[in-house]
């Protein structure tokens, strides 16, 4: 399978590419140059032919929708940059994908969309997102909005994965437990599940899954929809 991964400068993209390249052809892209042994195409996801060339020949797109760390642009302040990238550039990417007959995309979103709910609520995919006006959270919400409209009206299947703070279990050892943590290797596994065959029978153009770490003491296992639908099976625990 030919897979395009955006946000190549991020640690998640690096982890995804390393794992998925064992079985797939990976093309990485970002708006800044990066060092990698894999195929890399620098692209600003504009509305010109270069975005079409970027997605041409791809079977899947993993759109992490992340700006490079500490990225700045003289023409826009950081708030604008985030919202612009998550709306206009997502639109350009998906428009090109539809034009080039790409059949599937996976969009990386955030569980911060649910931070306004009380901690004791059983929030899952059936709950309405309540975004704040923080540019990152609002931008992720607007990116989902954009994806949904493409999925609703175009011939492209889009899966949205929402997750929290990406960590490595060894890096947070000894720190106070944070339920927002998601182990990067479990998250890579979740993206692989979203790309996989199990979901094909769903015949849905738009699907959303919350990707959460395992919680052995929970009455109700987290990420139930992802477990039951795409075969997500987290391996890493932050608590025993």
């Amino acid at each position: 399978m030919n897979i395009l991964v955006t946000g190549a400068a991020s640690e998640l993209a690096h982890a995804l590419a390393s794992h998925l390249s064992e079985d797939h052809q990976i093309r990485l892209t970002d708006i800044v140059d990066i060092k990698t042994d894999l195929e890399f195409v620098r692209c600003d996801l504009g509305h010109d032919e270069t975005t079409n060339e970027l997605v041409r020949g791809m079977d899947n797109i993993i759109h992490l929708a992340e700006l490079p760390p500490d990225y700045s642009d003289d023409s826009l302040d950081s708030d604008n940059l985030t919202i612009d990238f998550l709306t206009r550039c997502t639109y350009n990417l998906l428009w090109a994908a539809v034009e080039e007959n790409v059949k599937k995309a996976v969009y990386g979103s955030t569980l911060e969309l649910f931070d306004k709910y009380d901690d004791d609520l059983t929030v899952n995919e059936n709950w309405r997102p309540l975004p704040s006006t923080d540019p990152y959270v609002l931008g992720k919400h607007l990116g989902e909005f954009t994806c949904k409209e493409f999925a609703r009206t175009s011939q492209i299947q889009i899966t949205c994965l929402r997750y929290g703070e990406i960590v490595r279990v060894e890096d947070v050892k000894g720190q106070p437990y944070d339920p927002a943590w998601i182990e990067i290797r479990d998250l890579v596994h979740a993206f692989e599940c979203a790309l996989g065959e199990k979901q094909a029978g769903l015949n849905r153009e738009w699907s959303v899954f919350h990707i959460e770490a395992d919680a052995p003491d929970a009455d109700y296992p987290p990420a139930r929809r992802a477990r039951g639908t795409i075969g997500y099976s987290p391996k890493y625990r932050f608590r025993e």
């Binding site: 504009g46 509305h47 302040d77 708030d79 604008n80 919202i83 612009d84 709306t87 206009r88 639109y91 350009n92 998906l94 428009w95 309540l130 975004p131 704040s132 006006t133 609002l138 919400h141 607007l142 909005f145 954009t146 409209e149 493409f150 609703r152 009206t153 175009s154």
Partner: protein, 252 residues
């Protein structure tokens, strides 16, 4: 009331200025200056947070008539980022009343428009990704802008009334023909402008929520869109009717 008009010299803006000027003090803004105006004018590009926020200082309400349709980059700059700037400006200056405007496809894109009837305003937005089946982000970029407005109302003490139009007609130069029917959502520019004036008058406490959407169409018999909510809450009473368009022309 001190009213900031964004996009004040575009297709709709001048009619809004005419409707409001007897009752309010206006600050008209746009990237193109008016040929002649009795009001304060400022150059404001909706893509500039600084310009929008500075223009909103001292205002009691904002009316957003700005729009850009075809060009992808500028459409997102004006329609999406522009809304973010407008709402940030409202919050910065404690402005409680914002009137946003746009096409009905902000809410009812092709998956509603091509299929359903009896459409109301209180439905999830399905803008689609292109307005007319081509490379045109007008509807989705405006819909994202309205979504930004909604999120701000859910986080701050600010009210947004979103007035949706389609088929805006200048009654002095109507571009339609008797007996040929019309898109089942049509309104004259002066009735649309009057709806903006009504939005400035309505008691905010009487609104069902801090984010309310209204179909601003003339009375139209097709059974697809209704202006009942605008009539009930805003007191909208369209004067330009266009009945001749949807009545058959008698044979001579």
């Amino acid at each position: 009331m001190n009213v900031l008009i964004l996009g004040g010299t575009g297709n709709l803006g001048p009619f809004v200025v005419n409707a409001l000027e007897p009752y309010h003090t206006l600050r008209v803004t746009d990237v193109n200056p008016p040929e002649d105006t009795a009001h304060e004018f400022r150059y404001v590009d909706m893509a500039s947070m600084t310009q929008v926020v500075e223009a909103a200082e001292g205002m009691d309400a904002i009316v957003n008539c700005s729009v850009l349709r075809e060009h992808r980059k500028i459409a997102f700059d004006v329609n999406t980022l522009g809304s973010y700037h407008m709402m940030s400006a409202a919050v910065t200056h404690g402005i409680k009343r914002v009137i946003n405007t746009g096409p009905h496809a902000i809410l009812t894109g092709p998956t509603y428009d091509h299929i359903d009837f009896m459409l109301t305003e209180d439905i999830p937005p399905h803008s689609g990704v292109d307005l007319v089946g081509g490379d045109n982000p007008y509807s989705i970029s405006k819909s994202l802008g309205q979504e930004i407005c909604k999120v701000f109302t859910e986080n701050y003490d600010v009210h947004v009334m979103c007035l949706l139009f389609c088929g805006l007609k200048n009654p002095e130069h109507p571009r339609f023909f008797p007996g040929r029917d019309v898109t089942p959502f049509v309104v004259s520019v002066r009735d649309a402008a009057e709806a903006c004036r009504l939005g400035l008058n309505v008691d905010l406490k009487s609104l069902p929520s801090k984010n309310e959407v209204f179909y601003i169409t003339t009375d139209i018999p097709h059974g697809k869109f209704s202006n009942a909510k605008a009539k009930r809450i805003l007191g909208f009473a369209p004067k330009d009717r266009f009945e001749v368009v949807w009545h058959k022309v008698a044979d001579n």
